[in-house]
Amino acid sequence: MNIVSLSAGCCLFATGPLTEPVGVVHYLIVGAILFTAGVVCMALKRNALGVLMGIELVLNGANLNFVAFSSPYLRGAGSATLGLDGQVIALFVILLAAAEAAVALAITLNFYNNHSTVDIDRADDLKG
């Protein structure tokens, strides 16, 4: 994922990313790293809270993309930006992430009450 998104950045700005002043590519790279870290966290963590943190990282990676894409300063003159849309989306995503985390934490607490653990791998009663 990381490499693919890097090349995504390179496509937008065909020049080398490290010799240019800070532009949208750099933000995309940070976003891609956050996204990758989040996906790895979701896939490898056994603790439900760890998985939820991974989800937050993914959402923040996407948020960073939206904000970077919406900035006319980063994208240079003349190229299309998302404008205010990107920033508004980022704000809404922060809100939704909080709501989702609240519900997910409540569910985790309920899971703990019934199973005395928050280990996701122990949720294996249902299968077939």
Binding site: S7, F66, A68, T81, F92, L96, E100, V103, A106, L126
Partner: protein, 562 residues
């Protein structure tokens, strides 16, 4: 620049847009929102605590159903008129009101009006949990209405979250049960992960196309090939494909399409049958509508600016349809949706074979039906580029399927819930010999399950028939012919596979000996539960015989694809 008067004109314009144009087309959603607030208020006031929350919710849903019905009747194509697309963007382009919005909204409201009495009679939620339960159900349905009318990536994400987050809580409704809390945590973790990945895909697509407004994105896509140096086009296409696939992850999760179906059986088995019915019918309906929105929104640019000259817009649309990247995008969407459809259908049907728990069997049946629905969507998208009229027919087939699916699947879940109350079990084996004590319920189960198989003369036959005829039409017009041929064969074979496991349930109910300890009649049709089951099973028979009225409505919904 005179910024003060600019601001004033912006405010007055957005006020006009909101109050005069948008809100009148948003009445069903407003009814739901008001009902949610009422439900919450009722708990705070001691006087109103006496009021049963189910009736409050039912009243709100009935008002919403009335407005949704009058919206559908108000469409220009109603009753034999020219079924032209009546597309109207509301709330500054965030949502769109057209025949698909009106039709799906009507389905969701009709679902609520049937669903709330069913949950009231079945006893889950109990009176204590009622207010929570109906708040969550109505809130999730509000999100599903928005899914059906989303026209902007922000609304797509918001609507998916609004529909999902209450559903996570609903899955964990039976707080003290191990299985229920396990179902809830699996659903929440997988669901939140899928929506996070979907959001990242959206950010890539939006950044590349410079807009979040779906029709504008489609126009950008059409113009993209010319705007980018030839050497970079491959990279751009790769990012588009990546973003599209990530978006598809979120949609496939909502649809429970393979390979993102694994949550579905666990959640359905762990959660109460009532919640399973909600997720299986309402959530699926909204997800299919959202898929149609996104596929047609990105694949077919329409005249977007309100007040734009329609003839020049049509010419622009015709030119844009020829755009090379747009054709590629449609081809990519058809391939993705078609592949998922074939896998989903086959896996759902094959995995249903070994199931002993009725809720789990219905979960796999839900997955299989998502596959049939995806086949219709794939045919519609394949036809949309070259043959808009046939694409409309394919969309109407999907819309018709969704309506019949509401009755058959809600009926199946209602039977599971009532039999659970009577027999204290959801295992198929515990249904043995039911025909000797309660023949009425066995007949109702037979009607519902045979309709799910798709045998005439029941409603399920016509919905499958319409989907397959859409595939045949795509083959005969050679739109994506090889894939459509594969889908037709897979769909036909799967219908045959599905005979066995649905009929096995009926076989247990009729031929297996009655257990000695069964106390008398399990469930009579002359009772409140029996009335609910009858109310759901009779439309399955009636729609099988008198299907033309519903099909006319579905054709109206199909008119959105033009």
């Amino acid at each position: 620049m005179n910024s003060v008067s600019d601001l004033g004109s912006i405010v007055s314009r957005s006020l006009h847009d909101t109050l005069a144009l948008s809100l009148p087309l948003f009445r069903p959603e407003l009814c739901l929102a008001v009902t949610v607030v009422l439900l919450l208020l009722c708990r705070m006031l001691p006087v109103l605590k006496m009021l049963d929350s189910a009736w409050v919710a039912l009243g709100g849903a009935a008002f919403a159903l009335f407005y949704a019905w009058s919206d559908l009747r108000g469409l220009p194509g109603w009753l034999g008129g020219d079924a032209l697309a009546s597309r109207q963007e509301i709330f500054t382009g965030l949502l769109v009101f057209d025949s698909l919005t009106a039709y799906i909204r009507l389905l969701l409201m009709a679902f609520l009006v049937l669903y709330i009495p069913f949950t009231k009679v079945s006893g889950i939620p109990d009176r204590e949990d009622g207010a929570d339960f109906y708040t969550l159900v109505l809130g999730a349905t509000l999100g599903m209405c928005l899914m059906a009318s989303a026209n902007h990536l922000l609304m797509v994400f918001m609507a998916v979250e609004m529909a999902s987050v209450p559903s996570y809580a609903l899955a964990g409704l039976l707080k003290g049960r191990r299985a229920s809390s396990e179902a809830a945590i699996k659903y929440a973790v997988y669901g939140a992960g899928a929506s996070g990945i979907m959001l990242y895909g959206m950010s890539l697509l939006a950044g590349l196309l410079g807009s979040c407004h779906l029709p504008t994105m489609a126009r950008q896509l059409a113009g993209l090939a010319g705007a980018i140096p030839a050497g970079n086009l491959g990279g751009v296409e790769m990012v588009l494909v990546l973003g599209g696939l990530m978006l598809a992850v979120g949609l496939a999760f909502k649809l429970s399409a393979v390979p993102f179906h694994f949550w579905c059986p666990d959640v359905f088995e762990g959660a109460a049958a009532e919640v399973g019915g909600f997720l299986s019918v309402a959530s699926k309906t909204a997800a299919v509508a959202l898929l149609l929105r996104i596929a047609f929104g990105l694949g077919m640019p329409v005249a977007v600016l309100p007040g734009a000259d329609s003839s020049s817009a049509l010419a622009g649309q015709a030119a844009a349809l020829q755009g090379a990247l747009l054709g590629d995008a449609r081809h990519f969407m058809v391939a993705t949706i078609g592949l998922m459809a074939a896998l989903t259908c086959t896996l759902g049907n094959l995995a249903a074979y070994g199931q002993n728990n009725m809720k789990r069997l219905l979960a796999y049946s839900t997955i299989a039906h998502a596959g049939y629905l995806l086949m219709g969507v794939a045919a519609a998208v394949a036809l949309s580029g070259s043959h808009p009229a046939s694409a409309r027919t394919a969309v109407s087939a999907v819309a018709f399927y969704l309506a019949t699916y509401l009755f058959m699947n809600l009926g199946a879940f209602a039977i599971v819930a009532f039999l659970r109350n009577a027999l204290r079990s959801e295992e198929i084996a515990s249904y043995a010999g039911l025909i000797r004590t309660s023949p009425g319920i066995v007949v109702a189960t037979g009607v519902v399950l045979v309709s799910l198989i798709g045998l005439p003369p029941l409603a399920g036959f016509w919905s499958k028939f319409l989907i397959f005829s859409a595939l045949v039409e795509a083959i005969s017009l050679s739109a994506e012919r090889p894939l459509m041929l594969v889908l037709l064969v897979v769909g036909g074979l799967n219908t045959v596979f599905s005979l066995y496991y649905y009929l096995r349930v009926l076989k247990v109910m009729t031929f297996d000996p009655l257990p000695a300890d069964r106390p008398g009649e399990a469930l009579s049709l002359v009772s409140f539960p029996g009335a609910i089951v009858t109310a759901l099973a009779v439309p399955v028979v009636m729609l099988g015989i008198f299907w033309s009225g519903l099909y006319a409505c579905a054709q109206l919904a199909g008119a959105f694809a033009s």
